[in-house]
C-alpha cells in the first residue's frame, strides 16, 4: 500500500466511523474498482478493499519499549523426560497445597531430574525446594533482570552479585565445608542486610554449628531485631550456652515455666527424680505455659532444676499430658543440644507406641538414619500411620518394599481399601501420598499393584505420586 492509499484509507475510515459516503475520499485506483455501481454498492466495494488493505498491508504498531526478561537459567540436573510429564502433572494436580507439591518436586529431584518450568516454578520466597532450583528462585525474584547469578565462589567482594537464594545455597554449602569462612561472611556482610534477610542468614548457622560460633552468636544479643536475638539465643542454647541469666524471681520466664512443672520422686529402692506437667487451674495458665515453652531454652530450664539436659529429658514423664509432651519435644528441637535431641529420640523410639510419635517434632534435627528408623517403627506398628504426614525434613525415595511388608501396614491398607468407610479411605489417600514420597521406585510399583488388587481403581488420583515415583528409575 502506497502513501496515497494509506492517507485515503485513513480519511475513508474516519468518514465511516461517523457515518457517510467515502467514495470521494478514496484513492483513484480504488475508485476505479468501485465506480459504475450504485452508491451503496460503491461503498461496499470500497469497504471490501479497505478490509483487505488493513488485513494484509498493515501490521500492528509495536510499542517503543518492550521489556524482555533475562533468560530462565538452565538447572544443574536434566529435565524430566517428556513422556513422564503427564504423570508429573497428575501428581501436582493431586497435591493439595504447596507442601504437598514440594514433596512431588523432592521425589523428582531425588531421582536426578528437575521439573519443566511450565509445569512448576518455585515462588520467589521459596525456601523449601531442593537447592538445585536456587537459580529459578532468584530469576523469579529478579524482576528487573539486571543481575546475573554468579557461579563463582561466594566472597565478600561478589556478595552483591548473588541473588538471595543462590547466596543462601552457597552459604549453606560453605557452612558444611568451611564453617568459619561462612560465619565470617555472614558477620561482615549480613549486618548491612534487612532484618528478614539477616534472620535467614543466621538460620544457616545451624549447618556445622560449633563452639567457634559462640562469640559471634553472643554478639547478636544486641541486634536491633528481636527475632534475630531470639534465634541467636536458641543457637547458643544448642551449644550449651545459657541465655540471659534470669533473676530467679517470679517474673523470670524460666522460673515461671519451672513453676508449671511438678518435680517428684519415683521408685522404691533407687529414688529417681521425675518431672511432670503441673495440674493447672485455668486455660489461661495453659496458654501461658505453652508460650513459655516456645520462648524458653532447654538448657536454661534444665539448669533451673539443677540437672543436665539429658537428665531432664530422662526424668520427664511422657504420657501424662500429650499436649505438654509435644511442647517439650518442640522446645528440645528448637534449643536442645545435638546430644539432647538424639538422646530424646532414642529414648522415645525405644519406648515405642505413642511416645515415639513425639519424635516427629524432632525430625528436622535428626540424622537420616534416625529418621528412617522412626518411620519404620511407625509403619510396623500402624497404630498412628496418620502421623507420618506430619514428618518434615525427611528424605524422599528410600523406603523399601521389605519395610512395608514387615508389619501391619499392608494388611491395614488392604482392609481400608476394600471397605466402605469414606473417612478411612481419605486416610488411605493421605497415607498413599506420603508413601509415594518415601518409597523407592520398586516399592511404589509393588504398592500400586497391591492396593489395586485389594480393590482400588487403577487410575485413582491418590495413586498419582506413587505412579510418578514408580516410573522414575533410580538416580
Amino acid at each position: 500500500m502506497n502513501e496515497i492509499e494509506q492517507t485515503g484509507l485513513a480519511t475513508m475510515r474516519d468518514c465511516w466511523i461517523t457515518g457517510g459516503t467515502s467514495f470521494d475520499l478514496a484513492p483513484a485506483a480504488w475508485k476505479d474498482i468501485a465506480a459504475g455501481a450504485n452508491p451503496d454498492e460503491r461503498e461496499r466495494r470500497l469497504l471490501a478493499i479497505a478490509a483487505q488493505a488493513l488485513e494484509i498491508a498493515l501490521r500492528p504498531a509495536a510499542p517503543k519499549t518492550l521489556k524482555r526478561r533475562p533468560p530462565l537459567p538452565e538447572l544443574a540436573l536434566p529435565m524430566l523426560p517428556e513422556r513422564l510429564r503427564p504423570l508429573l502433572r497428575a501428581a501436582l494436580k493431586q497435591a493439595a497445597d504447596a507442601r504437598s507439591k514440594s514433596r512431588v518436586v523432592a521425589v523428582v529431584a531425588s531421582r536426578g531430574f528437575v521439573l519443566h518450568p511450565m509445569d512448576w516454578m518455585p515462588a520467589a520466597s521459596d525456601q523449601t525446594s531442593p537447592d538445585v532450583y536456587a537459580p529459578w528462585i532468584d530469576w523469579q525474584a529478579g524482576v528487573d533482570g539486571e543481575k546475573h547469578t554468579s557461579r563463582e565462589q561466594l566472597t565478600s567482594q561478589n556478595w552483591d552479585e548473588f541473588y538471595p537464594a543462590a547466596r543462601r545455597t552457597a552459604l549453606a554449602d560453605m557452612r558444611r565445608t568451611a564453617p568459619a569462612v561462612a560465619r565470617q561472611l555472614i558477620e561482615t556482610r549480613g549486618s548491612t542486610e534487612p532484618a528478614e534477610v539477616r534472620l535467614a542468614l543466621i538460620a544457616l548457622m545451624h549447618f556445622g554449628l560449633g563452639p567457634d560460633d559462640v562469640p559471634f552468636l553472643k554478639s547478636l544479643s544486641t541486634d536491633r531485631s528481636g527475632k534475630v536475638r531470639e534465634l541467636a539465643g536458641r543457637l547458643l542454647a544448642r551449644l550449651g550456652q545459657h541465655g540471659q541469666p534470669g533473676d530467679g524471681g517470679p517474673e523470670d520466664p524460666i522460673s515461671e515455666l519451672a513453676a508449671f512443672i511438678a518435680e517428684g520422686k519415683s521408685g522404691f529402692i533407687r529414688r529417681r527424680t521425675t518431672y511432670t506437667p503441673a495440674k493447672l487451674k485455668s486455660p489461661a495458665q495453659e496458654r501461658r505455659r505453652a508460650e513459655l515453652f516456645e520462648t524458653c531454652n532447654l538448657v536454661d530450664l534444665a539448669a533451673r532444676f539443677g540437672v543436665t539436659e539429658s537428665d531432664f529429658i530422662g526424668a520427664w514423664q511422657f504420657g501424662a499430658d500429650n499436649n505438654v509432651d509435644i511442647l517439650v519435644a518442640r522446645m528440645v528441637a528448637a534449643s536442645g543440644s545435638d546430644a539432647a535431641v538424639t538422646h530424646m529420640a532414642d529414648t522415645l523410639v525405644a519406648e515405642g507406641g505413642k511416645p515415639a510419635l513425639f519424635v516427629l517434632h524432632l525430625m528436622p534435627r535428626l540424622d537420616s538414619r534416625r529418621q528412617r528408623v522412626l518411620i519404620r517403627v511407625i509403619l510396623k506398628d500402624t497404630q498412628y500411620l496418620g502421623a507420618l504426614s506430619l514428618a518434615e525434613g525427611v528424605e524422599a525415595g528410600w523406603l523399601d518394599w521389605a519395610d512395608l511388608t514387615n508389619g501391619k501396614t499392608l494388611p491395614a491398607l488392604r482392609t481400608a481399601v476394600a471397605g466402605n468407610d469414606d473417612a478411612v479411605k481419605r486416610g488411605v489417600d493421605q497415607l498413599l501420598e506420603t508413601l509415594g514420597f518415601l518409597a523407592t521406585a520398586e516399592a511404589a510399583e509393588k504398592l500400586i499393584g497391591d492396593v489395586v488388587a485389594a480393590g482400588m481403581a487403577p487410575a485413582a488420583p491418590s495413586l498419582a505420586l506413587l505412579r510418578l515415583n514408580a516410573s522414575l528409575a533410580g538416580p
Binding site: 459516503t21 469497504l47 478490509a51
Partner: protein
C-alpha cells in the same frame, strides 16, 4: 489413559468411572478385535445392567444409562478397564444383537457395498430375478423422486440464501451510513438482529459468524475496534460476492449456509487425503452465542517441509457439558486425514488413525523472518474471507509492554515487527527463547498454541 482423561466431560465423571473399574461391577466384558469393539454390562443401581459398547478405533460409544454426560461414567470405566486390564475381556466370535443395532444405526449412512439379500441364493433364478427387477424399478422411481425433491430443496435454499445475502448487503450499507462508531457500541444488538434474519433465510453458517463479531470486537482495545469492524464487514462483502459468483462451490456453501456431512466429505473425490505424522498443537473451546460449543483441535503435519496445519472442528450443545475429541496437546500419531475441499484446505477429518508416535522436536521449517505473517497473507490472497490463520513463527521471544500486555517478537529482528498476544501469558514464558511458535493470527492478535524451546515443547493453548 490420556485419551480417557481427554474424553471425560469433567473430573467428577473420571472419579466416578474410576470407582466402576472393579471387575465385580461388570458381569459381562467381551471384545471383538476384528471389529475393534469392546462391550460389557455394568451393574448399576437398577435391576438390569447398563449396556456399554465402545469402538476402540475411533472412540465412538453408546451406553443405555440415562446420564446426560457424554461419555458417561460407564463408558469411561469400560475404556479404563480396556486400557489397564485388557485380559478382563473375553474374546467373542459374534457380536450381541444390541451391539449390532448400534453398529447399524451408527453406520447406516456410510457408503457400504450392498450385501446380497439373505435368502436370495435359496430361491429359483426366475423368482430371484423377478424380485430383483421389481426392486430395481421401485428403487429407480424412488431415487428419481428423491433427487427431484433434493433439487427442489437445493433450489429453494439457493434462492433463500441469495435473498439473505441481499439483506446482508443492505444491512452493511446501513452500518456504513449510520457510522461504525455506533456499530461498535451497539454491535451485539445489531448483529443479533441480522443473524436471526439470516437463520430464517437458511444462511445459517453466515449467521453464526456474524453472531461472533461482537465478541471479537470486544476482545480488542477501544481504538482498534473501528478497524476491526471494517475488516469483519468487508470480509462479509467479499464472501457474499464470492458465493453469488459460484453458489455451488463447496467451501462457500459451507461458510454461508450449511456444512457437508462427514460421509459427503469422505465420498468427495476432490477432497485431499494426507497420510502423515501429526502432532496435536492445541485446542480452542468457545461457547458461541447460539448455544453451541465449538471445539477446535489444531494439528501440525510433521512430515511436511513447510508448516502445514489441519483443523479438527467439532460442535456440540453447551448443555451437553464438556466434550473432547480424544486428543491432548502434544499427542503425536500416524493418521490419514481427509480435508474439506477449500482454497486453503484446513478443516479435516481423521479417516484412519494408525498408532501413536513418540515425541520429538519439530522439523526445521524454513522461516520468512522479514514477515512472520507471510503465510497469512498468502491465505488471504486466495480466500480473503478467512478470519483466523494458523502460522508458524520463527525464533523469537515474548516481551511485555508498559501496560503489561504481551507481544511476540522475532529474535533476529528485535526492532522489527512485533505481534500482540491475545491472552495473558505465564510469567515463566517471558524467560524462554522460543525456537518456533505455532499460533493463530486473527488479524489483530496472536492466539498461542504451542512452541519449541530450549526447555522442550511448551503447551500454550
Amino acid at each position: 489413559m490420556k485419551t480417557i482423561e481427554a474424553l471425560a466431560p469433567d473430573q467428577a465423571s473420571l472419579s466416578a468411572a474410576s470407582k466402576l473399574t472393579r471387575q465385580s461391577n461388570w458381569p459381562r466384558l467381551e471384545k471383538n478385535e476384528q471389529l475393534a469393539l469392546i462391550w460389557g454390562e455394568c451393574q448399576g443401581s437398577g435391576s438390569s445392567p447398563y449396556r456399554v459398547v465402545v469402538d476402540t478405533g475411533d472412540h465412538g460409544y453408546k451406553c443405555t444409562c440415562p446420564s446426560r454426560k457424554f461419555p458417561c461414567k460407564h463408558t469411561l470405566a469400560l475404556m479404563w478397564i480396556a486400557a489397564t486390564a485388557p485380559a478382563s475381556f473375553t474374546a467373542a466370535g459374534s457380536t450381541p444383537e444390541w451391539v449390532n443395532d448400534w453398529l447399524g444405526r451408527r453406520r447406516k449412512t456410510t457408503s457400504q457395498p450392498a450385501a446380497p439379500a439373505p435368502g436370495v441364493a435359496g430361491k429359483s433364478i426366475g423368482e430371484a430375478s423377478r424380485e430383483e427387477e421389481s426392486t430395481v424399478v421401485e428403487d429407480a422411481a424412488a431415487i428419481e423422486r428423491r433427487e427431484a425433491a433434493q433439487r427442489k430443496r437445493a433450489e429453494d435454499t439457493r434462492s433463500s440464501v441469495s435473498a439473505a445475502l441481499d439483506e446482508l448487503d443492505q444491512w452493511i450499507s446501513d452500518q456504513l451510513r449510520l457510522g461504525l462508531a455506533g456499530f461498535v457500541d451497539n454491535s451485539s444488538d445489531r448483529c443479533r438482529r441480522i443473524a436471526a434474519r439470516l437463520v430464517d433465510m437458511k444462511a445459517t453458517a453466515l449467521a453464526g459468524r456474524i453472531d461472533e463479531i461482537p465478541s471479537r470486537l470486544m476482545g480488542l482495545r477501544n481504538e482498534e475496534r473501528p478497524d476491526a469492524a471494517i475488516r469483519e464487514l468487508g470480509k462479509l462483502v467479499l464472501l457474499a460476492k464470492a458465493w453469488r459468483s459460484t453458489p455451488d462451490d463447496a467451501e462457500l456453501r459451507r461458510l454461508v449456509s450449511t456444512s457437508e456431512s462427514r460421509e459427503q466429505v469422505l465420498a468427495n473425490p476432490e477432497a485431499i487425503q494426507v497420510e502423515s505424522v501429526w502432532e496435536v498443537l492445541g485446542e480452542k473451546i468457545e461457547t458461541r452465542r447460539d448455544g453451541l460449543v465449538s471445539h477446535s483441535t489444531w494439528l501440525l503435519d510433521l512430515n511436511s517441509a513447510a508448516p502445514q496445519f489441519a483443523l479438527l472442528l467439532d460442535y456440540f450443545p453447551a448443555s451437553a457439558g464438556r466434550r473432547s475429541n480424544a486428543f491432548t496437546s502434544g499427542d503425536r500419531f500416524d493418521a490419514r486425514l481427509v480435508f474439506y475441499p477449500a482454497r486453503q484446505p484446513l478443516r479435516a477429518l481423521v479417516v484412519e488413525r494408525k498408532g501413536d508416535v513418540s515425541s520429538a522436536q519439530w522439523p526445521d521449517f524454513g522461516f520468512d523472518v522479514a514477515d512472520p505473517l507471510a503465510a497469512h497473507v498468502a491465505h488471504q490472497d486466495t480466500a480473503p474471507w478467512l478470519t483466523d490463520s494458523p502460522v508458524m513463527l520463527p525464533p523469537g521471544a515474548i516481551l511485555l509492554d508498559d501496560r503489561g500486555d504481551a507481544w511476540w517478537q522475532s529474535a533476529d529482528d528485535p526492532h522489527g515487527i512485533a505481534l500482540p498476544i491475545a491472552d495473558a501469558v505465564s510469567p515463566t514464558l517471558l524467560g524462554l527463547d522460543l525456537a518456533a511458535t505455532a499460533a493463530l493470527w486473527s488479524g489483530s492478535r496472536l492466539h498461542l498454541l504451542a512452541a519449541q524451546s530450549g526447555f522442550g515443547r511448551l503447551d500454550l493453548s
